[in-house]
């Protein structure tokens, strides 16, 4: 089939006049991408895998020594690392669950016709389009104990959201929910509007109540798109660095990526950082793989 497409270069086209074959054109388009991928993705991936078995430090000139699985052993037995993972897990669960609930809820509200629907939808999408650094700084102001509007509105006095070790992580998660719920909303809206209207009519004829209709028709039919939103948001939340780093310096908000950053660029423990990065990568892959299995099962219908 590919060759059939390849052969369709119009002999009268300008490209043909220059003596280019369709094969040349294909290469012109594809080779840069492949080179880019190899140089910036594949090569570092393999190179860092090599480093993860050494005690290499990018900040020193000492000879590099092969240490086998020592880095991995150290990391997996390090209690601090485990606490970073626990923090990350908490953060992922709270923030992704919040985004799914808020995003899907908003989509349900928006999935009908009302005045200024387009405008409202666009406004709701704005947070997603901002830079995370800006959002972080902005919410730090909102959370400010002395004059932040959040404490003012909720009458919380000078409660310090971001310096209280118990609430800091959740405060960051709330910001993440604010920023990314629109993404879930967008996908849910696409899913909801793809449910054929006649199915709701059939359900009404079949005397299904609104809750029964929602759980037996709406949810199952939207679930593949919800699952895609879930995969994307989980992956992203797992890797969160920017807003957490900007908003709080509490040890209780030290997500695994922050830990990785510190290890790599503050302690210059490059080899070990590579090992940690690999552990994170494997975890993310494992989680998404589980989701993808579910997604495929949902899509089979």
């Amino acid at each position: 089939m590919a060759t059939a497409v390849m052969n369709r270069l119009d002999p009268r086209s300008r490209a043909a006049a220059r003596g280019w074959s369709d094969l040349t054109i294909r290469n012109v388009f594809i080779i840069p991408t492949i080179v880019f991928l190899i140089v910036f993705n594949i090569f570092p991936l393999i190179y860092s895998l090599g480093y993860s078995f050494t005690d290499f430090s990018a900040a020193s000139n000492e000879p590099v020594q092969f240490v086998g699985l020592q880095n991995y052993r150290d990391l997996l037995t390090d209690e601090n690392i485990w606490s970073n993972f626990v923090i990350t897990a908490k953060y992922v669960i709270v923030s992704v669950a919040g985004q799914m609930l808020v995003g899907f809820g908003l989509a349900l509200l928006l999935n009908r016709s009302f005045a200024f629907k387009g405008l409202v939808t666009t406004l709701l999408l704005l947070p997603m389009m901002m830079s995370a650094a800006v959002v972080g700084l902005f919410w730090r102001l909102l959370y400010s104990p002395s004059w932040g509007p959040i404490n003012y509105i909720f009458g919380l006095g000078d409660f310090a959201w971001l310096s209280d070790p118990d609430t800091a992580l959740y405060a960051v998660a709330i910001t993440d929910i604010w920023m990314w719920a629109p993404f879930v909303m967008l996908l849910s809206l696409a899913g909801l509007s793809a449910v054929p209207k006649h199915l709701y009519e059939a359900a009404a004829i079949d005397r299904a109540g609104s809750w029964y209709t929602f759980t037996r028709i709406t949810l199952p039919l939207v679930s593949p798109l919800l699952m895609i939103a879930l995969i994307f948001r989980t992956m992203e939340a797992f890797k969160t660095f920017d807003i957490a780093y900007i908003m709080s310096t509490q040890p209780t908000t030290e997500l695994i990526s922050i830990r990785l950053y510190k290890q790599a660029f503050q302690q210059w423990d490059t080899g070990k950082s590579c090992a940690l990065a690999y552990i994170v990568l494997i975890m993310v892959l494992a989680i998404t793989n589980m989701y993808v299995k579910y997604l495929n099962r949902a899509k089979e219908r």
């Binding site: 199915l199 059939a202 004829i205 079949d206 005397r207 029964y212 037996r216």
Partner: protein
């Protein structure tokens, strides 16, 4: 089971006056077919009965109770959609069980009912499949099963077999008839296919542009169309309709078709009958079905010579276009009766099969001769 009454029902879509003062009674256990051309408001009428569309004026009564303000679920009516509207994520079994589960019936009861219905519509072997794994005919069977399973007061069907191929349509038609006889359910059935309507209906209600034209049994609407629209909509090939006038010379009456294109002898009571229908001597529209145009190869009393113009052999019979002056009249003859186009044959109009319509309003003048 139920009686459905529509009383002065009106419906607008914005400026579009879609149902106009519709009055129709569907008796208990009756199979009524709503027939009409595309866009005449059949679906809208059906959806209004089901409660999927609100009406602007009038009443809809089910068993004497006004239901026009009740939601669809409270009317206890089943609806079969043209494009099946099966739940794509549920198996055939779950689709049929859906109305029972939605109202919270017990598991064992549901199972019994679903299997009984599956048996009646012969899809027991398909119960575990999803709609995407089913053919159109099977999907429609399941949709019908879903409608039957809860024993609704009435069944409404919107072109349920319109999306199937011709052969399957014929099969399903027989099956629907059988199901109706077995279940005795009051049924309103929408179609634009007159053959389907004729073969299924106890009574046919013919609609055009939102106005009910005539209600009657298939034979009634075929033999005594109330107006030109019904006359031309029912029957295939279409009824010949031409402008005509009466001529009398002495005791002999004849009908002149077109602008003096040809004249056919008629019984001499015609002028009296015209007068009785208070139509006098003016022009009228003459309608006659192809089988009412009698063709002979020999000269015979009452037959006038005409030229065969086009011959369409349809297997069981031929349709011959006869040239009468500048007019064409289609006749139905035995297969191969007229040899070839251009031949001169002799034709006569069977007065018992002629219809007379008012030239302006198109209403039937209710004139008939013997026989029918």
């Amino acid at each position: 089971m139920a009686e459905i009454v529509l009383r002065d029902v009106e419906k607008f879509f914005g400026e579009n006056y879609v149902i106009r003062k519709l009055n129709l009674t569907i008796q208990n256990k009756e199979f009524v077919v709503l027939l009409g051309p595309s866009g005449c408001g059949k679906t809208t009428t059906l959806r209004a009965i089901a409660g999927l569309e609100e009406i602007d004026r009038g009443d809809i009564l089910i068993d004497g109770k006004a239901v026009q303000n009740l939601p669809a679920g409270d009317r206890d009516i089943a609806f079969v959609f043209q494009l099946f509207a099966l739940y794509p994520h549920l198996t055939a079994y779950e689709n049929i069980a859906f109305p029972l589960r939605a109202t919270g019936e017990s598991r064992s009861q549901i199972d019994g009912q679903v299997r009984a219905v599956a048996k009646a519509i012969q899809i027991e072997h398909l119960l575990s499949r999803r709609p995407s794994q089913l053919s159109g005919g099977d999907m429609q069977r399941i949709a019908i099963g879903r409608a039957l399973v809860r024993r609704p007061k009435a069944m409404l069907m919107d072109e349920p077999i319109g999306a199937l191929d011709a052969k399957l349509r014929e099969e399903m038609r027989t099956e629907l008839k059988r199901l109706h006889l077995e279940n005795d359910s009051t049924t309103v059935y929408v179609t634009h296919d007159q053959v389907e309507a004729m073969s299924l209906a106890d009574r046919i209600a013919i609609m055009n542009e939102g106005v009910l034209q005539q209600v009657g049994s298939p034979t009634e609407v075929y033999r005594h169309p109330a107006n030109l629209f019904v006359a031309q909509f029912i029957g295939s090939p279409v009824m010949n309709v031409t402008k005509a006038s009466v001529q009398t010379s002495g005791a002999v009456a004849s009908v002149v078709v077109g602008e003096g294109d040809g004249s056919f002898g008629f019984p001499s009571e015609l002028p009296q009958k015209m007068a009785a229908a208070s139509h006098g001597q003016g022009d009228f529209m003459l309608g006659i079905r192809p089988e009412g145009v009698l063709v002979s190869r020999q000269q015979a009393p009452g037959y006038v010579p005409v030229e065969a113009h086009i011959i369409e052999p349809l297997g069981a019979y031929d349709i011959v276009d006869l040239k009468v002056g500048r007019q064409f009249i289609r006749a139905r003859t035995a297969s191969g009766y007229v040899g070839k186009p251009g031949e001169t044959v002799y034709a006569r109009l069977d007065e018992s099969q002629t219809h007379f319509f008012h030239p302006a309003t198109g209403e039937s003048l209710n004139i008939s001769f013997g026989g029918a």
